[in-house]
Amino acid sequence: MSVTTDRPIVDRLATLGLVEWGTPLTLDAAQVDALLTSRSHEGLVCLLGAAVERGLVDVEPADGARVTEAWTELMASAVQLDTLLLQVTEALTAAGIDSRVLKGVAVATLDEVDPSWRSYNDVDVLVPADKLLPAVDALVDLGLKPIAAPVSRRWAGRNSKSLTLLHESGMQVDVHRMLAAGPFGARLRPGCLFEQAQPLEVGGVSLTALSDTQRFLHACYHAALGGVPGARHRRDVLLLANANAPIAVDAHFADGWSQAVVAAALKWADAGADALGADWTTWLGSRTVDPADGALIAAYGGSFRDIAKAELRATRGPVGKARYQAALVWPSRANLVSRGKTRWQHVRGLVARR
């Protein structure tokens, strides 16, 4: 653990409580504004509020009031999302579908220094890989509908990482059948995520999250493969790394988790922070990343098309490849409508990109 005084405020907030803060910092109104208007997936407002409360960041009283107000609103949003989560898990249970709470309230409650330090923007649940469509159907009565129609229901049930549902309140629920899209998601033995669990209490109701180690691995996957990593993803990786010993994580690689993804996430999260324990530093130094996996991780930084191409390459047999491509080449009319495209525009786009 190191004393850090000259790192950017975003980096310092991302590691609040994980490394020694050093000298308190004074922020002016413009700097507070910049943090209050940062992208929500960065999760900085709660961390700023916590740092101000702890006397680690000094602001003018009016700015402090604005921080508290913004923080309070994010927590009100979290409470509303938790309420929706309770309804979602109840409906899934009633339909006989097992579920695991992902990210959000699971990390806030089980891993964060204090639940109020973690904001989130949606509800995330994992269902067994073959239960995505039944799960989505079971949630219709809650007023939850797919935000965009899938290319085909069958394709979604067999290949989608998740479907995003929109609630009439505007809140969103991501129903996952995998923790990552494409080959990294497909490699994971599906059953392993339901063989272990960590209980989690929300509003007096006992829910189930991924196990401690699987939450760490998921945080790494989300950070390395999720597309738009920010301070919140970085913090999740560091928080969970320090709660899980490498030896416990090593036991999970036989299930298909990628060491390359874990190594990439840890290196990214710890860059300049020095927040990882010595055991993880040693672990990183002892791993050789498979170059093919390294290239695959880079593909995840691209578009859906890049990930789909990688999955197509990994799909075995001509029948499997044809089945995978068919709905992408000829998507449902509802999917085209939700993307604002005519079939002609879609086909023309495919031909142009060949």
Binding site: E53, T68, A76, V79, Q80, D114, S116
Partner: protein, 89 residues
């Protein structure tokens, strides 16, 4: 006469810091209370009378109990109809 004891609802979904309390008993909407409500909320994890809460708070906050009593009683009265706090026998 026995003083009434209060406890926060086990069904409450909530977040708190030293500057605010946000809580709801689903499916109700969250209630937001700024200030030191979270200190009272923390004490109400166990059944307590208003006077017991005041006594504990006055020790922690180094404030005279009589200055805190109205604040605590008002807060409990505000939380009761929202079902965030329950009366305990």
């Amino acid at each position: 006469m026995t003083e009434m004891r209060y406890q926060r609802s086990p069904h409450a979904v909530w977040r708190a810091s030293s500057s605010f309390l946000v809580a709801a008993v689903p499916p109700r909407s969250p209630t937001r209370i700024t200030g030191s409500a979270s200190a009272v909320w923390a004490l109400l994890a166990q059944p307590r009378t208003v006077n017991e809460v005041v006594r504990e708070l006055s020790t922690v906050a180094n404030t005279a109990p009589e200055r805190l009593h109205a604040h605590v009683a008002d807060l409990v009265a505000q939380l009761l109809p929202l079902q965030l706090v329950e009366m305990v026998a």
